[in-house]
Symmetry: C2
Subunit: 288 residues, 2 copies
């Protein structure tokens, strides 16, 4: 892949900032312009040499871009794509990093930019936010899902895929619907569960004592409850159908576990715990 | 506290082994005898100098003991207390480390050893098992709940509390019922949730893809699903009533979160996530 002349990253947060930092490290990014509403955050990115220029108007910034990365919350990215679609040069490749792919891919088709829009979702994140949290190694060894549509230009697809590979990620191509269904289970459901558990403990009359009696189990199970609420409300909205399906499936299985506990059906409880442990152990292999 | 002549630790696993290792480090334990069914595990403990002697018969081992620590699964510890109650010298102090306190405390009362039985529960653990996992720093900075009954001998209580303090733990005295209610929420419910989530993903037709698309969120939320199933089946049995109550409360709240997602009630979802995050953040303070 040749280097990219001008890259505009809209949203220089944990993901956008890390991609800028990691991409610059590979030498494949020429000029990098960061766009955002918080001047302080952009200053942080400038001082860290993650971006070369800071801008506040995405429409002006993308006019001569070769690559535009939408690294904003999922609801904002659809809105943003609508705003910039007519302003980007026809040769410019567009991509995003959102956790839900159907709405943005549908918007790209509707806006007539599907040929050069490459939906992407890096399976990486954290509870820290902003350019200060940028980490050039954030994507190393992680899976990045790319959701090409049938009419996607092959060079646009290659540009985005090779950029992710260059920053150390494994690229996995999926249909947008399949991505959204799978992440409802692998990512969005765990978030709802962790937040529900922490909220339940918080509302308990014994919450102080419960807090004192938490070990690593409670803390690990609820760690992601510290994630950004606004971001997750937007994800829940964007992936509502698959998420509700996953939540219903969980509620159904949890109710059977509850009955096994209540009725002393220890064989059923033990079988379920063994299946759970076996699956969970497969995730330990080769993970950072 | 003067040193304890002969300590018998029944069950030289992660908790029993770690208490032996940590206790020896304080110089407060004289002779330490480990009792267990697995000769290989006891050999590991002997080689690591965690115990001085290994024995297979708990009744014979406790005849001249000054302190007996029951560090076996919660169901086994009640059975074990019944077996040894008549064999221990009247001056011997008895304690345990089980995650559920009402059944063992009731057994101590019933067996006439309540005066010198000090129920205890260290809020520490891990997914590793056996003497090989023993860690002398396992209890440092952790809370250990002690559940004294009204007729508990003051010197027995002092002996057990000061031993836990000597190995770096913070001792918190609670009534057995209050302990069991609080840990149903802080420890036993998270286990059922983590196992349910991992089991749901395992049973999904997309389980391979889901596994590939898990980030740190899923993995943290389900880490304790790798815990020992047999131990947890016994805990669920011993704390059935409080655990079922906690599971019902969780199912109720989770169903409200599901409805908020399904109905697009973003205010409710956001409020809940903020409460959850605020509570969870309080657990970050001063924790290892």
């Amino acid at each position: 892949m040749s280097s990219i002349g001008k890259t505009v990253i809209v949203g220089v947060g944990l993901i956008g900032g890390s991609l800028a930092a990691a991409g610059r490290g590979t030498g494949r990014l020429g000029k990098v312009v960061g766009v955002g509403r918080s001047r302080a955050n952009l200053e942080t990115a400038l001082h860290a040499h993650i971006i070369d220029e800071a801008a506040s108007d995405p429409i002006a910034a993308v006019r001569d871009a070769d690559l535009v990365v939408l690294a904003v919350p999922v609801d904002t990215s659809v809105e943003l794509l609508r705003q910039i679609a007519a302003a980007v040069p026809t040769s410019c490749v567009l991509t995003d990093v959102g956790s839900v792919k159907v709405p943005i891919v549908e918007a790209a088709v509707e806006l007539g930019v599907a040929r050069r829009f490459v939906g992407a979702h890096p399976m990486a994140g954290g509870t820290s936010t902003g350019a200060a949290a940028a980490d050039k190694d954030l994507f190393r060894g992680r899976t990045v899902v790319v959701t090409p549509t049938p009419d996607l230009d092959v060079t646009a697809r290659e540009l985005v895929c090779s950029l992710w590979q260059a920053v150390g990620a494994d690229v996995l191509e999926l249909e947008p619907e399949l991505h959204d269904e799978a992440v409802a289970m692998s990512s969005h459901l765990p978030q709802m569960i962790a937040s529900s558990l922490a909220a339940l403990a918080a509302a308990d009359p014994l919450h102080e004592l419960i807090g004192r009696l938490t070990g690593r189990g409670f803390r690990d199970t609820t760690r992601i409850a510290m994630s950004d609420a606004a971001m997750w409300v937007a994800i829940a909205r964007a992936n509502r159908n698959y998420l509700v399906g996953a939540m219903d499936a969980f509620a159904d299985l949890f109710s059977r576990v509850r009955d096994a506990v209540a009725n002393g059906d220890e064989q059923a409880l033990s079988a379920l715990m063994h299946e759970a442990a076996a699956f969970r152990r497969t995730l330990e292999r080769g993970r950072p």
